[in-house]
Symmetry: C2
Subunit: 341 residues, 2 copies
């Protein structure tokens, strides 16, 4: 993709630079295996969920996946954990109730015992990485903060049941990470970020149990309480209702239009969700990163996997703009526009 001319560079709100990315995927599980195991018609998964392969943990947990993706991003940057000023873990899944996932992931990384960095966990479910990117860009404006490591790691498979074929075949486990660095280049960084809630959709995607509302001691495991529930039709209705206006406001704020954006990395929410992007954006499908078929929906890890897909193929050039966008349980919409330098 050709770099934009200098004349068309957007105004950067928070200078920062994607230095590197990393990824870690547990073993692949193809759709045929799932279809056979649960009595689904052959080909159902690809046809309805758009997924032919996703990855699922055997013995690894959220910290294991995250630590490996984080380490991969550090290696690609030529850094070690001791160079990192802030670690932000992002995601809707977690290994245990206490400590926070940030501490658990940090402890699992090579050098974690001697690391003295700030570390926190942020959760906006599927939008967690996008929210974390914006916070990382803020942190990099502070004196003494040079490198922020953002790790999105998700184990979705533990909360998916066979009672819903779409969620069963759609979700995957995996982690992706990014080192965001301080830069003095005023044309490289976060152009704009927007995140809005529409709580009429609060029950449209949920796992009702597992917390203080229906605590384990009183509510034993049941698929109704502890498996992910998704009302795909309602989520699509909310998206069609709110996304166009949201994106219009977003591009007004960013001083650009969707067709001018070099790369769009949508959350890999669903086949239908991904399908509406090129039409809505009036852009060519080739400008939209689509990794759903080979990774599934990895909750918050999908968007940084998309960044990694571009970065590892040298597809993000100086002057290129990258749009991250998606929806999340809650219901919320989030978008972030980044300009590379």
């Amino acid at each position: 993709m050709a770099a934009n001319s200098a004349a068309s560079l957007l105004s950067v709100l928070r200078p920062c630079r994607i230095l590197s990315t990393g990824i870690h995927l547990p073993p692949a599980v193809d759709s045929t295996t799932i279809e056979k195991a649960h009595g689904l018609p052959e080909g159902w998964s690809l046809k309805h969920s758009g997924v032919s392969v996703r990855h699922q943990v055997i013995n690894e947990n959220v910290a294991d996946l995250g630590a490996k993706a984080g380490q991969h991003a550090l290696e690609n940057a030529g850094l070690s954990l001791s160079d990192i000023d802030v670690l932000i873990t992002a995601g809707g899944s977690f290994d245990q109730i206490i400590p926070s996932q940030a501490a658990l992931t940090l402890a699992m990384m090579p050098g974690g015992e001697d690391a003295r960095c700030e570390a926190f966990h942020i959760n906006t479910t599927c939008l967690s990485f996008v929210s974390a990117f914006a916070l990382a860009a803020d942190k990099l404006q502070l004196p003494g903060v040079k490198y922020v490591l953002v790790v999105a790691s998700e184990v979705a498979s533990k909360n998916i049941g066979p009672e819903n074929w779409e969620t069963l075949t759609l979700f995957g486990d995996g982690a992706a990470a990014m080192v965001l660095e301080y830069t003095e280049d005023p044309n490289c960084g976060l152009v704009t970020h927007m995140h809005k809630h529409y709580t009429e959709g609060i029950r449209s995607a949920q796992i009702p149990g597992g917390g203080a509302s229906k605590c384990f001691a009183d509510y034993p495991f049941s698929s109704e309480l502890h498996h992910f529930q998704m009302d795909g039709r309602e989520l699509l209705r909310l998206t069609l209702k709110y996304l166009p206006g949201f994106m219009e406001d977003f591009f007004k704020k960013g001083g650009t239009t969707w067709p001018e954006v070099t790369w769009t990395i949508p959350h890999q929410a669903s086949k239908t969700g991904l399908g509406i992007i090129p039409k809505l954006a009036e852009i060519a499908p080739a400008q939209v990163v689509n990794i759903l078929e080979h990774s599934g929906n990895c909750i918050s890890a999908s968007i940084p996997m998309g960044i990694h897909e571009l970065m590892s193929n040298d597809k993000i050039q100086s002057g290129d703009t990258v749009l991250l966008c998606g929806t999340s349980a809650g219901y919320a919409i989030g978008s972030l526009l980044y300009q590379h330098g």
Copy 2:
């Protein structure tokens, strides 16, 4: 407490102003009730945990407590939810696995259905509010962000068992909130913030279950997995080992010393933990906010309850400095110095 003279004002890193605070506590439970119910000697709780009264939910959850505390803070500020640009929920407890606690709390607030604010949940367990304060101060530097509502809400009681008398009597439920506003006063705001991890203490305070590592489908409820475990002796060792050096670095960064700080609000971690602060700081106990006896340890909500205690008694005057400090599961130490204007 007399205000500092203008000459002694500290340099502010992130201008922002505490506009208001709010609180919500579920019904009080006195120690005698707990001691009788679980066969503890009379007076054990006050003597060993330092707590005579804590509060515990009956039917309320994390979102209920948080929404009420948040609404209280809004009322004290003369604002409504529609004025809020960013909602940050902070804490180690949550109502359900998905959506994020931020969405759940927002949905529970009056006006939540029409609110369109950014909202995210941050978790550094007991230090969550301190981390959120720093992020809120960053957000207030962005164009268009005028008010950030930070809500720390915790339901500790659902993960506490009778097998450990200290945790049984120490922890309480409750929520506290703060409206942080944009200010043009360069002398009002966050002076410095520091947060470091020491993961050698990763297992010293934990709830091992409830997440992807020991998922509920495979690991039914047990006190060993789902009740909070705390190695008080080890936590004290870590604190004595790392806190003095941490605070020395912190005050060097902030350009002041502990005795010069007007108010110290430590996390209400434990009787022993609170007891070492005045000696370590070389300050009078009256300058240290101590609400342990009447609220217990409310995880991340304890520190903003301390701010509310001061604010509601008009004890924070222009020029005063307020130190928030504490330790958390992970193990981590965090501190934030705020100067009021």
